[in-house]
Amino acid sequence: MLTIDDIHVAVNGKEIIKGLTLEIRPGETHAVMGPNGSGKSTLSYFLAGREGYELTAGRVLFRGEDVAGLSPDQRVARGMFLAMQYPVEIPGVATMTFLRTALNAQRRARGEKELDASSFLKLVRKHAAELNISDDMLKRPLNAGFSGGEKKRLEILQMTLFAPLFAVLDETDSGLDIDALKLVADGVNRLKSPERSLLVITHYQRLLSHIVPDHVHVLAGGRIVKSGGKELALELEARGYDHIIKAAA
């Protein structure tokens, strides 16, 4: 599904990711954990194709295709998705309008027929209900004035609507209380399938009790310093990053 082959990524000329290799197969859920400043967010923005995140060495293949020349929207059309840590507030764009514009832009890029207003509305209502998202919330401007939990639920609603093959969840648990966390995690778990892969980026173990990973990697100083199964997350929680990073060095 996704091959990350010894990548080096610089932001403003400063190298943040320094030789990272990761292979994610269809159906797998990987977790990347790491302390602040380890390069977690850089990895997620880079994979989404954000301008200013410069690949200085290595390559990323998505389903065999080198993504280097692909803009963020082209990556999405091919089936990649990033659920952001800080979804952006955009006053002046109604949430529902945005969702339909985004979904139809992806369909258009893939040469699929665009959804008309009524079939789109039906689809949104169905999935919104699962995530406890009200009609009222969908009528409001995109993310504007949404609580942390509302923003994250809307990210997962988008992930559900867009049905990507590969999704990065960047600190999806941040700002969530326990109930909201469960709602969001249930939404993600519904999307798990043998064809779909997830990369969960998180600082804390607690999300991984709900979205159980097949593989856990520890990111430090822009590299993966240790990989293991789901028990590695528990070990990190119990002993802290310092201990694991020092032991791996």
Partner: protein
């Protein structure tokens, strides 16, 4: 006839005042951003009258030609009753100032206060090639909009004057549209009697090489409301100056504007709100999208005179630079001489938010479409002030089209 002599006297006085300063220039504080003298060192000679066929063709091309309205056509500054669609009614009077000044207009014409010296309004009177005075009687609601349709072509200057009087509790909608012409200078005086309301929509597209100056002087009496929306677009030069004077409690004015500029376009939105009485409201919001090498300007002055307690004044000016060579200037000013007032002002100039742009693209929306969405979102706050109706829909459509010209998507 006394009335005709009255106009001649006013024109002579205006010519004397206009001659003192000449064409406004950047060393005059109110014109520092709009150096008209650099553009037109000497006012051009009066433009020739348009032949009827040409004027008629231009009227047919007007953006609002399809809107059912009481239409007053000015061709190269001259009022042309033959091309106009007038429906006289006892409650609506339209007087051609070429025929002299009607008695009811004498106390108002050339007399409506402008809070600051307005040299171009003087020039419009001094050089007046045509003008009308419109009166809407007490308690009358004019259902069809009044459409002042200014068509211009060729070289030369066009000067026109309009007086609009809404008597107590009269209500109307005014559409103003402008097209073409090397130099178009028009000044409107507006009197809103107690509890009268006027919605004014002005659309002023300016092509490269075209210059227009609009001066509105409004006297607003107790409980009356002016709701103005100005749209400037294009690569030419436009100055829209509105002076508000409140004469009674609870009078209100909402001034809104959108400038969408391309090429070397220049749009100057200048406002002066003079609060001399209590409890009046002036609420201003101007937004600009500047592409090419254009320049968007907002300068707004709010004066709250001693005793004008309870004044509520808001000024917001924001500009989006769609090109690295575009420029925006915003100068909101407050002069407050009363204690119990609520006055706010804000201004911002910038590019589209990079985080928002990335967010939309990261959801599959291509960059051009994402930019358009964000630009329209930027304008939504002000375009939401447009009323319902065919004329406002035309302005909405013009904004979308002009954004393409400005390279904003």
């Amino acid at each position: 006839m006394g009335a005709a002599m009255a106009i001649d006297g006013l024109k002579a006085d205006a010519a004397t005042r206009a001659a003192i300063h000449g064409v406004p220039h950047r060393r005059m504080e109110d014109w520092r951003y709009s150096d008209l003298r650099r553009l037109v060192p000497e006012l051009p000679q009066a433009a020739e009258a348009l032949v009827a066929d040409q004027a008629q063709a231009l009227v047919a091309q007007d953006a609002f030609a399809g809107v059912a309205a009481i239409r007053l056509v000015f061709a190269n500054g001259r009022f042309v009753p033959a091309l106009s669609a007038l429906s006289p009614a006892p409650a609506l009077q339209i007087a051609d100032l070429g025929q002299g000044l009607p008695d009811w207009a004498v106390p108002h014409f050339g007399q409506v206060k402008h809070p600051v010296h307005a040299p171009m309004a003087d020039m419009a009177l001094a050089g007046m090639m045509g003008g009308v005075a419109i009166r809407i009687s007490h308690n009358y609601r004019l259902e069809a909009p009044l459409h002042l349709c200014f068509v211009n072509a060729g070289e030369g200057a066009c000067h026109a004057r309009v007086l609009i009087v809404l008597e107590t509790n009269a209500h109307a909608t005014l559409i103003e549209s402008h097209s073409g012409g090397r130099f178009c200078n028009m000044a409107t005086e507006l009197v809103l009697g107690a509890n009268a309301t006027l919605t004014q929509l002005r659309h002023a597209p300016m092509a490269a090489g075209e210059t227009s100056v609009h001066t509105l002087s409004a006297a607003i009496h107790a409980g009356a409301a002016l709701n103005q929306f100005v749209m400037a677009e294009g690569a030419g030069f436009a100055r829209h100056e509105t002076g508000l004077s409140f004469f009674g409690r609870s009078a209100r004015a909402q001034l809104s504007g959108v400038s969408v500029l391309s090429g070397e376009g220049h749009a100057d939105m200048t406002t002066i709100a003079d609060h001399a009485v209590r409890q009046c409201t002036s609420d201003q919001m101007f937004k600009a999208v500047a592409g090419g090498k254009s320049r968007a300007i907002y300068q707004g002055r709010v004066i709250v005179r001693p005793g004008a307690d309870g004044t509520d004044s808001r000024q917001l000016a924001k500009a989006l630079l769609a090109s690295p060579h575009a420029e925006a200037d915003a100068k909101p000013e407050l002069e407050i001489h009363a204690d119990d007032v609520t006055c706010s002002h804000g201004a911002a100039v910038g590019d589209l938010d990079a985080d928002a742009l990335f967010y939309l693209m990261a959801r599959g929306i291509p960059v051009a479409q994402a930019r358009t969405m964000l630009t329209e979102a930027f304008l939504a706050e002000v375009t939401s002030r447009l009323p319902e109706g065919a004329a406002a829909d035309i302005i909405r459509a013009r904004i979308s089209a002009a954004l393409v010209d400005a390279g904003a998507p």
